[in-house]
C-alpha cells in the first residue's frame, strides 16, 4: 500500500513566499499573545496550593465556592477536573505560617460542609522560590538544548543546516508557546517536558530532510540548489507523512485516553509534531537556501565518507 504516488517533483520552494508570510504571521501572533496574555503558568511555576478531590455524587461548584469563602479562602478558584465528580481547588501563595498545611485543612472543611465522603485525590503545594527556580531552570534547559543541538548539527552537517534547523526549532517552540498563550491553557512542568520532546521530534524530521538534501547535492551535478531541495523534499515526503501520522495517532491515544493529568502534555506534543512537520519542510530548508547552501559546501565530505559506495552510484 502506498499513500503517495509522486511521479513529478513537487515544487515546494515555489510556495516559499506563502510559507514565509504564514510562518511570520503565526510567529508575530505568538509573540503578541505571549507579550499581552502571557502564559497561564501552572502551580509548578507560580507556587500555591492545589487540591483535587473526588465526590461520590456530582459536585455543586457553587456550594463548594461558598464553603471556601466562608472558611476564609475567598481567593480559591474552584473548577471541575475531567468529570463532574472531580473538583480542583486552587489557592495562591499566602503569607500564612503554615501554608503547607492548607491542603489537609481544606479537605476537612469540605468533608464537614458537604457531609459526603470526600476522596483526597491529590494535594500539591509549591513554595514561591521553587517556582522561580524552576522557571529559570526550564528556560535554561531549553536554551542549552538548542545550543547543544546547534553544535551537533553544525558538526555533522554544515552551519547553514544547523542555523536552519535551529530556526525551525525556535519556530516550533514559539508557535507551541503561542498556542498555550492564546488558548490560555495551563503551562506546567509536563508541558515544558513536552516542548523539549517537540524539540527532539522536530529536529528528527529536519535532519532526515537535511540528510537527503546533502545526499542529493552530491548525486545530482550542475543543478540549482532550489531544485535539489525540491527533489529531496519530494523523496522524503512520504516518510515525513507516515512518521508524523504514526506519531500523531499515538499522541491522539494519549490525548483521549491518557487522563486529565497529561492532557496539556499531549496537547503540546500534538500541536508541536504538527508544526514540526511543517517546519522541517519549509522553515529549515528555506533558511538553508536563503543562507546560500550550495554543492561546494558539501562536496568535501563525499570523498571522505562515502568513498566505498562510489562505484555503485556511478552509472
Amino acid at each position: 500500500m502506498q499513500i503517495l504516488h509522486l511521479k513529478e517533483t513537487v515544487k515546494f520552494m515555489s510556495y516559499r513566499k506563502i510559507a514565509l508570510v504564514f510562518s511570520a504571521l503565526m510567529m508575530i501572533a505568538s509573540v503578541i499573545s505571549l507579550a499581552t496574555n502571557k502564559l497561564n503558568f501552572g502551580l509548578d511555576f507560580t507556587g500555591g496550593t492545589l487540591i483535587e478531590v473526588g465526590f461520590e455524587q456530582p459536585a455543586d461548584l457553587k456550594i463548594i465556592r461558598q464553603v471556601m469563602a466562608e472558611n476564609g479562602f475567598a481567593d480559591a478558584k474552584v473548577q471541575f477536573y475531567g468529570s463532574s465528580r472531580d473538583v480542583v481547588i486552587r489557592l495562591g501563595l499566602r503569607g500564612d505560617v503554615k501554608a503547607e498545611m492548607l491542603g489537609n485543612e481544606i479537605l476537612s472543611v469540605l468533608q464537614k460542609a458537604t457531609g459526603q465522603t470526600v476522596d483526597m485525590r491529590r494535594i500539591e503545594f509549591v513554595g514561591a522560590s521553587v517556582g522561580d527556580e524552576l522557571a529559570e531552570q526550564g528556560g535554561l534547559a531549553m536554551l542549552t538544548a538548542l545550543i547543544c543541538i546547534l553544535m551537533y548539527v553544525a558538526f555533522r552537517f554544515e552551519w547553514r543546516f544547523a542555523v536552519g534547523s535551529v530556526v525551525a526549532l525556535f519556530h516550533d517552540v514559539l508557535l507551541t508557546l503561542g498556542l498555550f498563550s492564546i488558548l490560555q491553557l495551563e503551562f506546567d512542568l509536563t508541558v515544558l517536558a513536552a516542548i523539549l520532546a517537540v524539540i527532539g521530534y522536530s529536529l528528527n524530521d529536519t535532519i532526515v530532510v537535511s540528510d537527503r538534501i546533502r545526499e542529493n547535492f552530491r548525486k545530482i551535478r550542475n543543478s540549482d540548489p532550489e531544485d535539489v531541495i525540491n527533489i529531496s523534499l519530494t523523496q522524503t515526503l512520504s516518510r515525513t507523512i507516515i512518521t508524523s501520522f504514526t506519531t500523531l495517532i499515538v499522541l491522539a491515544a494519549l490525548f483521549f485516553r491518557g487522563g486529565e493529568l497529561i492532557h496539556g502534555f499531549a496537547t503540546a506534543l500534538l500541536f508541536g509534531v504538527f508544526v514540526g512537520t511543517y517546519s522541517s519542510i519549509y522553515v529549515a530548508s528555506l533558511v538553508a537556501l536563503a543562507l546560500g547552501v550550495s554543492r561546494e559546501d558539501l562536496i568535501q565530505e563525499v570523498i571522505e565518507k562515502e568513498g566505498a559506495d562510489q562505484d555503485a552510484m556511478m552509472p
Binding site: M120, F125, T243
Partner: protein
C-alpha cells in the same frame, strides 16, 4: 553474500531480546500485601524477633504466606489486605516502640528470578500514591551558628592564654576581635593562626583590630554538614513514621527530597518533619537581679528566657553546649524510682561539658529548647526568614563534673521525662528546614493513572501495529515485531536499572517512543521501495535501504537523545521519569528497528533470488 548476518549477530539479537524479556517478567507477577517490621534507633530485627512475630500472628489466627528476615527487617506477607491491616495493629501493639511497623506491597517475584536480580519496575508516587516533600535547609542559620561558636571559642582561647581583649564580636562571615594593646594583638594572631587553619586571620591597619574570616572551604564544609545532618535526622524521623521504602535524598545545594510512598495522613508526616528544633545548655545567672531584668535592665552577659508556664529566668549568654553534640536521650528511672533523662554526648561534646561544669558544681544549669518557625517571609536572596522561639524546658543542679553521659533528674512525672527525652533527641538540628513543596497523590488517583497510562500505551501500540501491517505488509509485520521487542526491552531495562522509576509522564514517554520508533523502519522501508523503483535488484535494494538510512537514523536519534538528557538533568520526579523512558526508548528502538529488523529480514529474504518483496 549480500544480506546475510553471521550467526553470532543473529544470536546476539535473540539473546538481548530474551534477556530483556526475562527481566521484564517480574512485572507480570503482581504484588501481595505485607507488613514490614524494622528496628528503630540502632535496634535490628533478628531471629528472635522473627519467632516472636510468628507467635503473635499464630496467637491471633492470622494466615500469612511467609515471614522472612532480610537485612535487619522482617517482612510478613498476607493473602489479603484485611489480614494485613489486622497484623499491623497487633504487631504495632506487641512490639512496642523499638520497632516500626509499616504496611507494604511486596512483589511476588519467584525466587529464581529474584536470585538473578529480577524485580518489577518501581512506580513513582503519581502511580503508587503517597506524598513527596521538598525541604529547604536554612544555610544562613548554620553559618550564624558557626560564627557564635567562633566567638565563644575565641574568648576561651584568649582567656586561657591570658591575652587581654576589649571585645569579640560576630562580623560578616567571621569574627572581629578588638584589643587595647598591639602586643596582645600580636600574641593573639600567632595563637589563632596556629589553632584555626581553616580561618583567614588578618590584622587591620589600626593594629588593634583582628578579623578572622571563614574560608570558602570552611563555609562549604558548614553547608555540606548542615545538609548531611538534616538528611540523617530526617531519615531517623521518617523511620519513626513507619513507612515502607521511604526515600530521603539530597537535591541541589540546599534542598532535600523526601518521598513517602503510600502515606495518606500527610498532616502527621508534616508535623514530624517540620519540628525543627535545637537544644542549648546554659548556666543560670544566679548573681543577676531577676526583678531588675524583668524591668528591662538585663545584665550584659545574660539573657532573659521563660519556661512553658511563663516563669522567667536569667541565663548566661554563653552557651555551654549545643544540641548537635547529643547522640542519644532516653527517659528512665533513677535508683529512687524517680523519673530521669539519660543523655549521651559525642566526644567533643563530652569535653565541652566537662570543661563547662568542673568549676560550676552545685550551680543550676538550664536546658533551652529553640524552635525555628517559618514566618512565611523571605529576605532579598529569596531565603525563608525564620522566627526563633526559645523556651526553658528544664533547670537542674549540676551535682558533679559531667562527661560524655549524664542525666537530668527531677523533671517531674515520667511522662514529662519522656517528653524531655524526645525533645532532646529531636533537638540536634544545626540548621532549620522548611517544606517548600509538597505533592500528595491519593491511592485512587494513583491506580487510575496506572490504568489510563496502560490503556494509552496499548491503544497507541495497537493503532501503530495495524497501520504498519496494512501499509508495509510482511515488512510491516517485521517492524511490529521490532516494536514489540522494543517495548519488552524498555520494560526490562526499567526493571533492572536501580534509579529508574515509572511515572505517568514516563508512560507517556513510552507511548511517544512507540510512535517514533517506527520512524527508523519507515525510513528504511521507504528507501528500499525507492531503490526498487530505481531498478536495483531486490537484494541490492535491501542492502542500500538499510545502509543509506543508517546515518540519518543515528543523527535523528542522537539529537532527540540530547533533548532527553537535558530534560533528565533539570527535571524532578515525574518529568525525570519521562526523560528516562524517552532516553531508554530511543536507544532500544535504534537497536530493534535497525539491527533487530535486519536480522529478521536477512533470515527470511536475504540472499535469495527474489523478483518481488512484500513491502
Amino acid at each position: 553474500m549480500l544480506n546475510k548476518y553471521p550467526l553470532w549477530k543473529t544470536l546476539m539479537v535473540v539473546v538481548i531480546v530474551a534477556l530483556g524479556a526475562l527481566y521484564a517478567t517480574p512485572n507480570l507477577y503482581g504484588e501481595s500485601p505485607a507488613v514490614q517490621v524494622s528496628g528503630l534507633r540502632g535496634v535490628e530485627a533478628d531471629a528472635g524477633t522473627l519467632d516472636n512475630i510468628k507467635a503473635y500472628l499464630d496467637e491471633n489466627n492470622l494466615d500469612f504466606d511467609s515471614v522472612v528476615l532480610e537485612n535487619g527487617q522482617i517482612l510478613a506477607r498476607f493473602t489479603n489486605t484485611e489480614d494485613q491491616l489486622k497484623a499491623r495493629d497487633i504487631l504495632d501493639d506487641k512490639l512496642g516502640n523499638k520497632f516500626s511497623v509499616a504496611l507494604n506491597l511486596t512483589p511476588n517475584t519467584p525466587d529464581w528470578l529474584a536470585a538473578i536480580g529480577g524485580t518489577p519496575m518501581k512506580l513513582g508516587l503519581d502511580l503508587s500514591g503517597g506524598v513527596s516533600f521538598l525541604m529547604e535547609v536554612n544555610m544562613q542559620e548554620a553559618i550564624n551558628k558557626a560564627k557564635s561558636a567562633m566567638v565563644s571559642d575565641f574568648r576561651d582561647d584568649l582567656r586561657s592564654e591570658k591575652i587581654r581583649y576589649r571585645s569579640v564580636k560576630e562580623a560578616n562571615n567571621g569574627v572581629v576581635v578588638i584589643f587595647r594593646k598591639v602586643a596582645d594583638l600580636e600574641a593573639a594572631e600567632t595563637l589563632l593562626k596556629k589553632r584555626y587553619r581553616d580561618l583567614l586571620v588578618k590584622t587591620n591597619d589600626d593594629k588593634l583590630t583582628l578579623s578572622a574570616k571563614m574560608t570558602e572551604q570552611k563555609l562549604k564544609e558548614i553547608r555540606e554538614y548542615a545538609i548531611q545532618q538534616n538528611i540523617t535526622i530526617i531519615r531517623n524521623r521518617v523511620n519513626e513514621l513507619g513507612v515502607a521504602e521511604p526515600l530521603v535524598q539530597r537535591q541541589g545545594k540546599k534542598h532535600i527530597v523526601i518521598e513517602l510512598p503510600g502515606v495518606q495522613d500527610t498532616a502527621k508526616a508534616k508535623e514530624i518533619l517540620n519540628a525543627t528544633a535545637t537544644i542549648e545548655f546554659r548556666l543560670v545567672d544566679t548573681e543577676g537581679d531577676l526583678a531588675n531584668a524583668l524591668k528591662g535592665r538585663i545584665p550584659a552577659n545574660s539573657i532573659l528566657l521563660r519556661d512553658r508556664d511563663g516563669r522567667p529566668s536569667l541565663l548566661k549568654k554563653r552557651v555551654m553546649l549545643t544540641g548537635d553534640h547529643i547522640t542519644d536521650a532516653k527517659s528512665g528511672f533513677d535508683e529512687y524510682s524517680r523519673p530521669q533523662v539519660n543523655i549521651s554526648l559525642d566526644s567533643a561534646g563530652g569535653a565541652k561539658m566537662s570543661n563547662g561544669t568542673k568549676s560550676n558544681i552545685g550551680k543550676p544549669m538550664a536546658t533551652v529548647f529553640i524552635e525555628y518557625k517559618p514566618t512565611g517571609k523571605r529576605d532579598a536572596e529569596g531565603n525563608i526568614i525564620f522566627e526563633k522561639v526559645q523556651e526553658i524546658i528544664s533547670i537542674a543542679t549540676i551535682q558533679s563534673r559531667l562527661g560524655k553521659s549524664f542525666r537530668i533528674t527531677g523533671s517531674g512525672s515520667p511522662a514529662e521525662a519522656h517528653n524531655l527525652a524526645l525533645l532532646l533527641r529531636a533537638g540536634a538540628l544545626i540548621a532549620p528546614i522548611t517544606i517548600v513543596e509538597e505533592r500528595t497523590v491519593g491511592p485512587t488517583l494513583g491506580a487510575e493513572n496506572v490504568r489510563l497510562g496502560f490503556e494509552a500505551i496499548m491503544l497507541g501500540f495497537g493503532l501503530v501495529f495495524i497501520f504498519m501491517m496494512v501499509y508495509y505488509r510482511a515488512f510491516g509485520v517485521v517492524a511490529n515485531l521490532a516494536l514489540g521487542a522494543n517495548l519488552i526491552l524498555i520494560v526490562g531495562i526499567m526493571s533492572l536499572m536501580p534509579g529508574a522509576t515509572l511515572t505517568l509522564p514516563g508512560m507517556a514517554g513510552i507511548v511517544l517512543t512507540v510512535g517514533m520508533a517506527v520512524d527508523a523502519n519507515v525510513l528504511i522501508f521507504e528507501r528500499i521501495r525507492e531503490e526498487i523503483r530505481e531498478g536495483k535488484t531486490i537484494q541490492q535494494a535491501i542492502h542500500q535501504g538499510y545502509d543509506a538510512a543508517f546515518s540519518t537514523i543515528i543523527d535523528a536519534n542522537v539529537t532527540t537523545l540530547i533533548a532527553a538528557v537535558i530534560l533528565y538533568a533539570i527535571g524532578t520526579g515525574p518529568v525525570k521519569g519521562f526523560a528516562i523512558t524517552l532516553s531508554i526508548g530511543i536507544i532500544t528502538s535504534m537497536f530493534t528497528s535497525v539491527i533487530g529488523t535486519r536480522a529478521v529480514v536477512n533470515a527470511i529474504w536475504g540472499g535469495k533470488r527474489l523478483d518481488k518483496l512484500p513491502i
